[in-house]
Structure formats: C-alpha cells, structure tokens
C-alpha cells in the first residue's frame, strides 16, 4: 500500500484488490477542524455522491475509473487504477505536435458533451483531472469529488468556464486547446445554443452568480 497523493479533502492510496492487482483507494480522512458529527455526515455524503457520479459517467459512455467498492462508514472508494499520464503532462510534453494536441482536444470536447448530456456536471475540470489511458488513448475523467447531477445550463456553463480558466493558467497557447475542445463540445451537446449563451454570461460575471437584488 502506497500513498499516491494527498489533498485537502482526501488521500489517494494504491493497493491491490483480489483479482485486480492494482487498485486505487480514495479516503476522505477525518477533519479535526469540523464537528465530528458534521464531519462524518459530510464525508459519507460526498463519498456516496462521488461514487454514484462515477458510475453514471461510465454508463453514458465516457471513460472514467470503474468503482469496485464503496465504504461509506470509513469514507472509502475503491476504484480502478488507470494506467497512463495526466492530460497536463501530455499537453506539456507535446508542445509542438499541433495535430496530436488538436486530436486529443477534440476527444475531450466530445467526452465532455456526453457527460453533460447525461446531466453529470464534473465540477472540477482541469487538465490534472483528466488522463490519457495508456494504449487506447481514450480520455479518462477522474476525481468526481465535486461532481453532481444537474440539468441546468448554468451549471454546465460554469463547468466549461472552470475548464477555460484552468487551461489558461496551466498551459501556454491555451486558447488553441480551448477552441478545439469547445468546437467539438458544442457540436455534440444538447441545447448547445443555450449553453453557449450562458457561457458568455458566465465569462462576464465569473463563476459565482450575483446574489444581490
């Protein structure tokens, strides 16, 4: 069992799970700064929501880690270990291969459209939360920790806006990537006109909605 990474919300371990030689365990650890009762409730609810979104995403035809086991009491999700590199690493490595970058960006847009068509909003779209599966080169979305189910164009537009900002802050020439992603996204997404219109609104005002008035 090895610790792969740790964030503010959870730790990710790599271990084995019976017939699967490698497996990821994501543990939402105890937050001592929260009231224990509240902490337990939040961790449990988020664990279950994440697992459900993962399964739902898989069902709508996009590539995401398979869920092996959910332990709501210890706030654990056992899931597939995806072999491959993060999208961030890939884009940074293939800085000059424009055709390749374009091809992968198009794939991202198509997958994202499928995800949104199934009303799953990822909530934390960054190039670190996408992977390129070794071998098949399919785009794998990971970390559904902030995901939820919603059919509002507002939520989908914010999802895109988050991605846009994340790209701009991590990759040089991000607009090239973004254009390719959005082009294929809007080709496949339902209600593309409304989402595009909302995205323009969100760009003007930022991620948070104005609560005054």
């Amino acid at each position: 069992m090895t610790l792969l990474s740790q964030g503010a919300e959870a730790r990710v371990f790599k271990t084995s799970f019976g017939l699967k030689e490698v497996c990821i365990v994501k543990e939402r650890f105890r937050k001592t700064y929260r009231h224990p009762v509240l902490d337990e409730k939040l961790s449990k609810r988020r664990t279950i929501l994440e697992a459900r979104c993962l399964v739902r995403a898989k069902k709508c035809g996009i590539d995401a880690p398979a869920v092996y086991l959910v332990d709501p009491v210890k706030s654990l999700i056992y899931m597939e270990f995806v072999e491959g590199e993060t999208m961030k690493a890939f884009f940074n490595r293939e800085l000059n291969d424009h055709a390749k970058r374009n091809e992968i960006s198009t794939k991202i847009g198509t997958s994202l459209a499928k995800l949104h068509n199934a009303d799953v909003v990822h909530g934390d779209l960054t190039t670190s939360n996408m992977m390129l599966r070794a071998g098949t080169e399919s785009v794998v979305f990971i970390d559904f920790g902030l995901s939820f189910v919603s059919n509002l164009t507002e939520d989908k537009a914010v999802d895109l806006y988050v991605l846009e900002r994340a790209l701009a802050s991590t990759h040089p020439q991000s607009h090239v990537l973004l254009d390719a992603i959005l082009a294929s996204y809007f080709k496949d997404v339902k209600d593309s006109k409304q989402v595009l219109k909302k995205l323009e609104d969100v760009r003007l005002r930022g991620r948070k909605r104005d609560q005054t008035g």
Binding site: R11, L19, V55, K59, A66, V67, L69
Partner: protein, 204 residues
C-alpha cells in the same frame, strides 16, 4: 484442483489513523473472513429442486456454500465484489439478510428486494447449471471434505469454471442490471457497470 476457480476476498483497506491508541499497523489487522472462495461449476444438474429445498430449509447435510445462477454471472470479479460487499456489511453490522451466505447472494443483485434477489440469482427448480461458492478453510486451503460432500449432493457434472461468460445470458443480465441504456456495450464496460452497481447499491 483444476476444476476450481478461486475468488479471492481481499482484506479491506484500513486507513492509518495517527490518533488511534492501538499500535497495530494495518498489515497486521486480521481479516475476520475467509480469504478465498472456491467456485465450482456443476452442469447438467438434475436435482435442482431438491437442492433448493435443502438450501431453504438450511439442511445440516448441506455444507456452507452459496449457490448462484450462472446465467447472471459475467466474470469472477463480479463475484469477488459481491463477496467483499457482503463481508464489509457484516463487519459494519449492516447486513440486510440473516446470514453472510445469503448476504453474498443479495449483494450480487442490483435489487433491494431480498426475495426477488434470491429468486433471480439463487437456484430455481429447473436450473441445470449451478455455480457453488465455497468459503476456504482458515488456512485458505481447499476444503476437500466440503467439496466431496457437494459432489455427492449435486447430481451433475463438475466442469471447469474458468469459462464464466459462456453460460451468461447477456440479454437477461442487461435487463436485470438495467444496462440496456448504457452507451458502450462491450464486455469490459458492462463488467465495470455491474460492479459499480453492486458497489453503490442501497446508498442514496
């Protein structure tokens, strides 16, 4: 024992808690459950009705085992997940059924209805092939006496159990697990979805 497929039941993950009083490291934590299940496949079974009656009555003649309908089993990993889920429920005193063996059968099913799950995934009067899952002895070895007992009880041929998908009724499987609307229908994705369904069942 070339006729027997092994289904490991991995010990569950124990996060390291720096505040815990115990100095026991996670590796030393005891399983508390059998580490392997042996899956025996009987084909051309002629006495399913009799066996079913024995299972329901809890006949003491019948060794500890779970009898599963192979038409709804796609892979050994599906069985592993159901076993893990059942033992997790047991460890957390969260079992929905009375025994761990029925809990395994119930875990396999995506339904929350126990009777319906047993009917679909367990024996039926006219089954002619059966998967029998036998928990390992304490030292994870094959329990020969149990297997010999089963061979005497089940009137049928013990066949190699590695060919899981040969006996799968894909149409029924997809209906039961509600996978007809899944976009990608390849076997690997179906397995992932089935396992995901088993893993998330009952959590809202």
């Amino acid at each position: 024992m070339e006729n027997i497929t092994q289904i490991p039941v991995p010990s569950l993950f124990n996060p390291y808690d720096p505040n815990a009083a115990s100095t026991e490291t996670p590796a030393e934590a005891k399983n508390g459950h059998p580490s392997v299940f042996y899956a025996l496949l009987f084909q051309n079974v002629s006495n399913a009705k009799e066996l079913k009656a024995k299972v329901i009555a809890g006949d003491p003649e019948l060794p500890q085992c779970v009898m599963v309908n192979p038409a709804l089993v796609l892979s050994s990993f599906q069985l592993q997940t159901a076993c893990s889920r059942a033992y997790m429920n047991q460890a957390q005193n969260n079992m929905k059924t009375k025994t761990i063996l029925s809990e395994i059968l119930f875990s396999l099913s995506p339904s929350l209805n126990i009777a319906e799950s047993m009917k679909l995934f367990g024996l039926s009067d006219n089954s002619n092939s059966i998967f029998v899952l036998v928990p390992s002895a304490d030292d994870a070895s094959v329990d020969e006496t149990t297997i010999n007992k089963l061979k005497n009880l089940v009137q049928g041929d013990l066949s190699p159990a590695h060919s899981f998908s040969d006996l799968t009724d894909l149409k029924l499987l997809k209906k039961v697990y509600k996978l007809n609307d899944a976009v990608d229908q390849s076997n690997t994705v179906l397995e992932d979805l089935i396992v995901g369904g088993i893993a998330t069942k009952g959590f809202l």
